[in-house]
Amino acid sequence: MEVLKEKVEEEEEAEREEAAERGKKMMRPVEMRREELPMTQEMLRDLEKKLSEIEIIIPEPPIITKDTIDISKLPLSYQSNTLKEEHLLEVADNFARQYSHLCPDRVPLFLHPLNECEVPKFVSTTIRPTLMPYPELYNWDSCAQFVSDFLSMVPLPDPLQPVVKEEEKAPPKKYAIKPPRDLSSRFEQEQETKKQEELKGEEERQRKEEEQRLLEVEKAKTDPLHGLRVHSWVLVLSGKREVPENFYIDPFTARSYSTQDDHFLGIESLWNHKNYWVNMQDCWNGCKDLVFDLGDPVRWEYLLLGTDKAPLSVAEEEDDTMNDDDVENLGKEDDDKSFDMPSSWVEQIEISPEAFETRCPNGKKVIQYKRAKLEKWAPYLNSNGLVCRLTAYEDLECTMTLEIKEWFQNREDTLQLRHINKSTGLIIDYFKPGHPQALRVHAYKSMQPEMDRVMEFYETARVDGLIKREETPKTMTEYYRGRSDFLSYRHVDFGDRVKKLALNSAESNPRPMVKITERFSRNPEKPADEDVAERVFLIPEERTQLRYHCRDDHITASKREFLRRTEVDSKGNKIIMTPDMCINFEVEPMEHTKKLLSQYEAMMKLKNEEKLSRHQAWESELEVLEILKLREEEEGAHTLTISIYDTKRNEKSKEYREAMEHVMHEEHLRQVEAQLDYLAPFLAQLPPGEKLTHWQAMKVKDECLSDFKQRLIDKANLIQARFEKETQELQKQQQWYQENQVTLTAEDKAWYLSYYSQAVFRMRILEQRLNRHRELAPLKYLALEEKLHKDPRLVEFLEVFV
């Protein structure tokens, strides 16, 4: 069983009850099953139970590879059938015979597939409700997700027939399993087919041709086995645990489907861990019209009468039955009824926390979709923290990659998603809060500086309030929020790099800035006419343009333009300031702005501010370089963070723990050494310092053994003596009690009774000890003998002898 068995465990009764889940097989359904037959069936059931809760599958290869499973190690219940199971099989066979007689046209029932030990087992007994310790498995959706991750699908050798006992005269039906790819593609194909039909109707569509192409592709793929394959899935019945209506769960995709869904073509039979029902309803219209009242014997032919008492109004009765059984009393319950389902033969599923975290077999799972592939990994499996990758392809053959999305976990650089668009070459990295540079999003095509890129930041984590920085080869645009200088936008245009001839300016040769545009939000403390809204520095022209904010009741805003010129007038004096160096447009002309002095002062101030802006832009460029460098380092190192609560991965705590264990171990060794030397008293009788002779060695050994034997006997005698003494005492007291029974006071009586129970208790203990001693004494004796044989002091003599 190991292989595949997943057992379903029922944790919560409530759940189970509610979720009367059954596996159904359909003959026609598009989808089929996975691993070999026995497994399949088991899995099916398991899946059903999944509903109830959890199933675990051992990630080993499927049954088919029987060789890989060591059957001998499986428990006895796997390798043989109990009487009750044999009986059940007979009942099932009888049922099947009647069934095939009554319904000769229908596919034979899937009742008792072979398990991994080639033993036929009734399907219901492969289900074992189990409660798992993981809260995620308590609800169907996350549970189903886990099962779909945890199991890997293996196609059946024959997609139409599950393996059943070969010996049977009436060969059971077979169930086909399809490769996983087909699984998903089937589904999509159907959708495509539908689409095609729609498309045909809609002639207006321009994409007709393309559709045609698609049609062809799909036609080529049309499944000749459509409707013949076997598939099993889980049905959850409404009622318990607030399940409002019946629904299906597909175990491989963990998706739920309405019972009205078109993809379910029919149901042959249905089972849970208690009973087996055959569908007697017509499935010509798929499963849409099926009524899931399992108590109605006209619609659902049951196999065992006893288990589910319930004709009609199934839900309630089921509830009752199921309510009673907890995991523990599942077995007992069976005994009471005339013929109940035998308790399950599979072992309880155990999922280790590691396996649970790993989820997929070997921590990795690949799911192929049409034009897409989804890969999943367990956390920490990949050294770069990759946990999920979705690849979208352009073509059906999946050779041309369209885009890739990669999800990461536990990255120290807080990278959580990388989106790679292959057609444009654009890579977008998304970061969680906490990156050292407060990065939020980084979109780039190349890690080289001065290329197209967009960086977004968590602006509250930055001192300068930067939200976003966009770069192209010639420009850099920054967006700010919440700055005390009200700067909200800065755009820098760069010119061509001046080629420097000399090497002396070693490293940095920044691109010259041609134009800096800065925008400011309104500073409520200044009048609008003095609050600059936009400032443009045209650096090579030495021109500065200012645009002010608009007054509340105006539609035009003041503007000013400064043009710095360093010229000399006719007399050779330097021109400091002339009226044409400052062009003003003022909404409300102000006197002081006309004065050269104030213009001059404003210009000088702007000169300084220009310097400052250039410096800031330059620093931004540096920061980009720094971030790129940091990102490269981070990518290179891709360190993963480990929670301090993660004791397994946390190296420090692991080291500490190992050190502690080491210390404990040494301590233990010392204690062992310090134990008494059993040979010491005998060796002491011999003359010290001399080497043992053979005879002496033998003598020492014999003495030691006989001494030990004596001690064992003494001990037994001692226990025996005590027992006898206790017995005598008790007899005496009993006698006294019987003689004086009539005259005894209540106190005396109470005393006697307590004495009596204590004495009986002591005697029982002594008896047990004696028995135990008798059992163990020979073993101990043998153990000592063995020890003596191996004792380094005696070994050379004894060995020779032996």
């Binding site: 608009c550 009741d553 105006h554 539609i555 035009t556 400091i576 300031m577 062009i583 447009f585 909404v587 002081h592 004065k595 050269l596 002095l597 001059y600 002062e601 000088m604």
Partner: protein, 523 residues
């Protein structure tokens, strides 16, 4: 103080002295060159230093209206004066002078730092206007009374104080007293007041401080109450019904009514009067409440109107701004294109295009404005009609209530007349039992006299009622007229401003283009 100011000739602050100071202290280097070229206006000067000038009298400073910092230390000034116009002053230094009293600072509401160090001041006062005062230096003066410190409690922002060199600084309790009474103070005589010191001072002067605080609180509470009353009255006045919620009007009717008061002591009249008063006051109260209600209504009407108008204007402005923004975008491109263009013909074509753009922008903006004017005019007219209706309704109702008052008065008058005549008859017949006061008895001489007296009282009453009514009506009407007038005026102003703004902008654009054209031609 120590300087003998007769050793140097006292100087007068005149134009030349100020000019010199301004020039010396003005901008330097290149900016200075410019400043000399242009000249500096006194009103542009922000800071002025006039120390060691032997100035006796502060004068001629009225032009420095934007001055924020003025240094007049080390002169021989005896009186603080001539600073009334320097309302922007933040920093004033009058140390080392011969000032004897603090005065002339009542307009300097922005003053934060005042130095009167080394003068002859003996009393701290007249600083009430200096609400922003933070630093005060009064060292080396002649302040001898500790109580002066309490005066400083009103300056909530005062952080630094210097009082050393005064007689009070010699007192043992000097520091403690100041710390306790000025808890906001951080530095005293250039020493930081630490927390320990504060605690000590507080505990030491706790008793007197509590008392002081209590007194201050009482005064404050009284002030608050007065203010609240004043506000309430203002509100009532705005509703034109002030004092109508009390027997004020009734009392005023009798305030000047000599005969009426005399007659009040006639038997039976006091009951009559009481009933009359009750009814009268009730009607007044009705008027009052109705007035407040109507005021609310008018206010709501006005608020709604203002809001709508603002919205309309705002929206219109947004459209205008949008147009201009679009134009400017194109404008800079066009200008550049024209500059870069070398072909003359092309330039001309482009310039033409551009000037067409400008014309179009002008048309668009003006159309927008005209639209708005029309819309607003309609709205304003509607509002005008509504508010006039409201006011008319108010007046009408008040008048009808007032008429009730008059009816009451008439009724009262008749009763009073009746009683009076009866009394007269009784007196004439000698049947009157009670004694009447002499002045009252004097009225009961004959019928004419008493009828006249009663009539006079009646007339006075009616006059009072009429005048109150007239006052209410005329004030209400004038308020209404004024409001409507203001709205119209504002709208006209707004329109003119906008048109001017548009023209100014278009002119600017046109000028820019013209100058470009010129330069092109020259090129």
């Amino acid at each position: 103080m120590h300087r003998l100011y007769n050793s140097v000739e006292p100087r007068v602050m005149d134009e030349d002295m100020l000019k010199l100071a301004v020039r010396e202290q003005g901008p330097k280097e290149e900016a200075g060159q410019l400043a000399r070229q242009e000249g500096i206006l006194f009103k542009d000067v922000l800071s002025l230093r006039l120390d060691f000038q032997n100035i006796l009298r502060i004068d001629s400073l009225w032009q420095f209206e934007n001055l924020t910092k003025l240094q007049l230390d080390n002169n021989i000034i005896e009186k603080i004066e001539g600073l009334e116009h320097l309302v922007h002053l933040v920093w004033l230094d009058l140390s080392f002078n011969n000032i004897e009293a603090i005065e002339g600072l009542d307009t300097l509401v922005n003053l934060e730092d005042l130095s009167l160090f080394n003068n002859r001041i003996s009393k701290i006062d007249s600083l009430d206007a200096l609400v922003k005062l933070q630093v005060l230096s009064l060292g080396n003066n002649q302040i001898g009374n500790m109580m002066n410190v309490i005066y400083l409690r009103r300056f909530k922002d005062l952080r630094t104080l210097r009082l050393s060199g005064n007689p009070i600084a010699e007192l043992d309790d000097y520091r403690m007293f100041i710390c306790a009474h000025l808890p906001g103070l951080v530095y005293l005589d250039f020493q930081r007041i630490d927390d320990h010191m504060k605690e000590l001072a507080e505990s030491k002067h706790q008793y007197s401080m509590d008392e002081l605080k209590h007194r201050e609180n009482l005064i404050q509470a009284q002030l608050d109450e007065e203010r609240a009353q004043q506000e309430e009255l203002e509100k009532h006045k705005a509703a034109f019904v002030e004092h109508l919620n009390s027997p004020f009007l009734f009392d005023s009717m009798y305030a000047e009514d000599v005969e009426g008061n005399k007659l009040a002591s006639l038997p039976g009249v006091s009951e009559l009067l009481q009933a009359y008063k009750d009814k009268f006051v009730t009607i007044c109260l009705n008027i009052f409440e109705y007035g407040l209600k109507q005021q609310e209504k008018r206010k709501l009407e006005l608020d709604t109107f203002n809001e709508c108008v603002q919205e309309a204007i705002q929206e219109n402005q947004e459209q205008g701004k949008h147009r201009i923004a679009k134009f400017e975008e194109k404008h800079s491109l066009s200008l550049n294109a024209i500059r870069d263009e070398s072909d003359l013909i092309n330039i001309e074509v482009k310039i033409l295009e551009y000037s067409e753009d400008i014309t179009e922008l002008f048309n668009v903006l003006m159309t927008l404005e005209m639209q708005l004017v029309e819309q607003l005019e309609e709205t304003i007219n509607m509002f005008e009609r509504n508010i006039i209706d409201l006011v008319a309704l108010f007046i009408e109702n008040v008048q009808s209530l007032m008429a009730q008052c008059r009816d009451l008065e008439n009724h009262h008058h008749e009763k009073l007349l009746e009683i009076s005549i009866n009394t007269l008859e009784k007196i004439l017949k000698g049947e009157l039992d009670e004694d009447l006061p002499d002045d009252l008895r004097a009225l009961f001489v004959d019928k004419d006299t008493i009828v006249n007296a009663v009539g006079a009282s009646h007339d006075i009453h009616l006059l009072k009622i009429d005048s109150r009514e007239d006052e209410l009506v005329s004030r209400t009407n004038s308020w209404c007229a004024h409001l409507v007038d203001t709205i119209h005026k504002n709208e006209i102003m707004r329109n003119r401003r906008r048109v001017r703004e548009i023209n100014q902008y278009i002119d600017h654009m046109q000028n820019e283009l013209d100058s470009l054209e010129c330069s092109e031609v020259i090129d």
